[in-house]
């Protein structure tokens, strides 16, 4: 991929604005609340777009395009089932406790509702997860830049080796993210997330338009692909009759309930955006405003993947004769998707059945290269890089807040002044990014370590929603119950993973490391059922232990538990009433599912 001067100008323009916003906001950062919670002064529409964009990291754009090419429109379940209901629930029912309790973070809410040990467990696991996630995002971006080869020519001209591209990508992304968060804190991250949202729409809309026009619209695309690619609920009765390899119950309960609610309702990375809102009403509307664009994002990020696989195959297979036998030196791939090449040997990869393995992660980059001329190519690439950086920045702002308030202020320096906390927040930004850089290099050196860490994070996250659900809606829940439920829920996730294995995988990182008692048709089915087991274990154990331990005084729980909190009376125009917005979102969600069923 060769870029021209206009592409570089667009990229530089974006990075200039990103850093400029950070610098412009520096003078407004006077207290720790300004830095960590944007002074709780941000209007609802900005918080809503940031709520959506904080989640629009590497996985979202590249990963969803790849899944679109691999699984078709069934990938939209990750949005329509796997996000929207949870976003409506958190906005209407849970934000009143987060915002109204005056907690500065999700772990701090846990301290107020339960006790110090539950906060500590959540804060430490969350802080570790965020810095490593940021590092993984950084690593993914550096790998993508290497794969796209658009820095090859400039590096050749500077007489730098190709290996320097990886180091430069890590360094530049770290410096830019550091630059704008160090000065402008959460406000800077939120403002840049808004910029990034519009940039992604601007960069991907023409891609979808050109792709659809090329294949004859949605009907033309349907005619080019098997029906299962363009129908989201087809074959969902059994895991063997759909591309995801999971049945509807596992999908709805595992993804739609446990994993989705666990992420959107408890993860401080997104909740922090609602906490920055300028009023309770704005905070409640934050996830609901985000839900509208979230519903249409599958058309921006998944559809290009489906178009990429639906187009006529671009490459022709090259055939080589070895000892009189014709072998495919380079298989053709499918549509725009090339065959995956082994990084070590440089040869095409084949699965156990001898079929070439497609490199689905290249769906979006191949689409950009195929349809975008100079100019728009710069815009599309900038949108991709913006999404990577935003993913990193979201993790860094969540980390510096939890580190400063829930670890440093809670356990290391209880008497710290607000000025000192502001300084510590900036310092945490620097060392958080430094750890992320180290994690990115660890990922490059030991890929299995990152797979292992992500697995552990999944175990820790799986039971979380049971703790919050019981904590907010059952006043009898105790701190001992919550803490034990969380620990044993994580244990249940690990146990389930250790006793089950997806079909076709060997025992190890994929599961079955204790014994193989059950085999799932796909790793997705195994993930969803691991989450269901962890949630159920945490839910039951928390109830049982709570019933055997002393509850807190009801007077201590006002504003923290549903039955002891005064109901909010919604006033104003329809678009200012969260419950009404929630009804519209759910109606649109049903309509979309019926339309693409």
């Amino acid at each position: 991929m060769r870029l021209s001067w206009i592409d570089w100008t667009i990229m530089l323009l974006y990075f200039g604005f990103v850093l400029g916003i950070g610098a412009a906001l520096k003078r407004f950062m006077k207290t720790s609340t300004d830095y960590f919670l944007a002074g709780r002064s941000i209007p609802a529409w900005i918080c809503g777009l940031a709520f959506l964009s904080a989640n629009l990291g590497a996985q979202e754009v590249i990963g969803m395009g790849a899944s679109g090419a691999k699984y078709g429109i069934e990938t939209s379940h990750f949005y329509w089932i796997g996000a929207i209901p949870a976003m409506v629930f958190v906005g209407i029912f849970m934000i009143p406790f987060y915002y109204g309790s005056r907690a500065r973070s999700v772990p701090e809410y846990l301290r107020m509702r339960f006790d110090e040990k539950t906060r500590g467990l959540n804060a430490i696991s969350f802080a570790v997860m965020t810095v490593f996630s940021s590092g993984i995002s950084m690593y993914a971006m550096a790998k993508l830049i290497q794969t796209l080869h658009f820095l090859d020519v400039p590096f050749q001209k500077m007489h730098l080796p190709p290996s320097a591209i990886f180091h430069a990508s890590i360094l530049i992304s770290a410096v830019i993210v550091l630059g704008y968060i160090l000065f402008g804190g959460l406000t800077s991250a939120i403002y840049n997330e808004v910029l990034q949202f519009f940039l992604i729409v601007a960069g991907f809309f023409p891609l979808v338009y050109l792709g659809l026009k090329n294949v004859g619209g949605w009907e033309g695309l349907k005619a080019k692909l098997p029906p299962i690619y363009t129908h989201s609920w087809q074959g969902m009765a059994s895991p063997r009759t759909n591309l995801l390899g999971v049945e509807w119950f596992g999908l709805v309960m595992g993804l739609g309930f446990v994993l989705s609610f666990g992420y959107w309702c408890t993860d401080f990375l997104v909740i922090q955006r609602a906490m920055a809102a300028n009023s309770m009403n704005a905070a409640r509307r934050t996830p609901l405003i985000a839900a509208f664009p979230k519903m249409i994002f599958p058309f921006l990020v998944i559809l290009p993947g489906i178009i990429a696989i639906g187009l006529p195959t671009q490459r022709s297979a090259s055939v080589m004769e070895t000892g009189g036998v014709a072998v495919h030196a380079e298989p053709a791939g499918q549509g725009l998707i090339p065959v995956k090449v082994d990084e070590l040997t440089g040869k095409p990869m084949y699965n156990q059945q001898g079929q070439p393995v497609l490199d689905y992660d290249l769906a979006i980059p191949e689409m950009l290269a195929h349809y975008f001329p100079a100019g728009l190519l710069g815009l599309g690439l900038t949108a991709l890089l913006a999404s990577f950086m935003s993913g990193m920045a979201g993790n860094v702002t969540a980390f510096n807040t939890v580190w400063t308030y829930d670890i440093y202020h809670a356990y290391i320096n209880r008497g710290a002044s607000d000025d000192h906390l502001l300084w510590m927040g900036r310092f945490a930004t620097v060392f958080g990014i430094a750890i992320s850089v180290a994690a990115a290099y660890a990922a490059a050196q030991f890929n299995n370590i990152m797979d292992f860490l992500q697995l552990v994070f999944a175990f820790v996250n799986a039971p979380l929603f049971a703790t919050f659900l019981l904590g907010m809606f059952w006043k009898r829940t105790t701190g001992h119950g919550a803490f034990t439920g969380l620990l044993l829920g994580t244990g249940a996730a690990a146990l389930h993973h250790g006793l089950t294995l997806p079909l076709g995988d060997a025992p190890g990182i994929k599961g079955g490391w204790i014994a193989v008692l059950h085999q799932y048709p796909s790793d997705m089915a195994q993930n969803f059922w691991t989450a269901i087991f962890a949630w159920s274990a945490c839910f039951v154990i928390t109830i049982v232990i709570s019933l055997f331990t002393a509850p807190r005084q009801e007077s201590d729980l006002k504003g923290l538990v549903y039955s002891l909190t005064e109901r909010i009376r919604e006033r104003g125009a329809w678009y200012e009433r969260p419950a009404f917005l929630g009804v519209i979102v759910i109606a649109l969600l049903i309509a979309l599912n019926l339309l693409f069923k």
Binding site: I6, I10, A24, D34, S41, L195, P373
Partner: protein, 82 residues
Amino acid sequence: MGLDIRVPLGAMFTLLGLLLAGFGLFGTKAIYSQTLGINVNLDWGLVLLAFGVMMLYLGLRGLSRGEHLSEGGTEDQPNIPH
């Protein structure tokens, strides 16, 4: 928070729109064979320019009315206990 995001957002998209539309108008036309013959730089550049100008107008109007100063400190502004 003192800075109305619509101003930098509008400024960035205005510049992006001008760049793309200008490139589409004055640059080589041969590159549009891969875009089904559509001059996407010009068309999309004009759309981005219109969006940028609109945001810039709304942001500057908001600044002149002091909207950015009244964003914070609403009725349920919490005090933050440790």
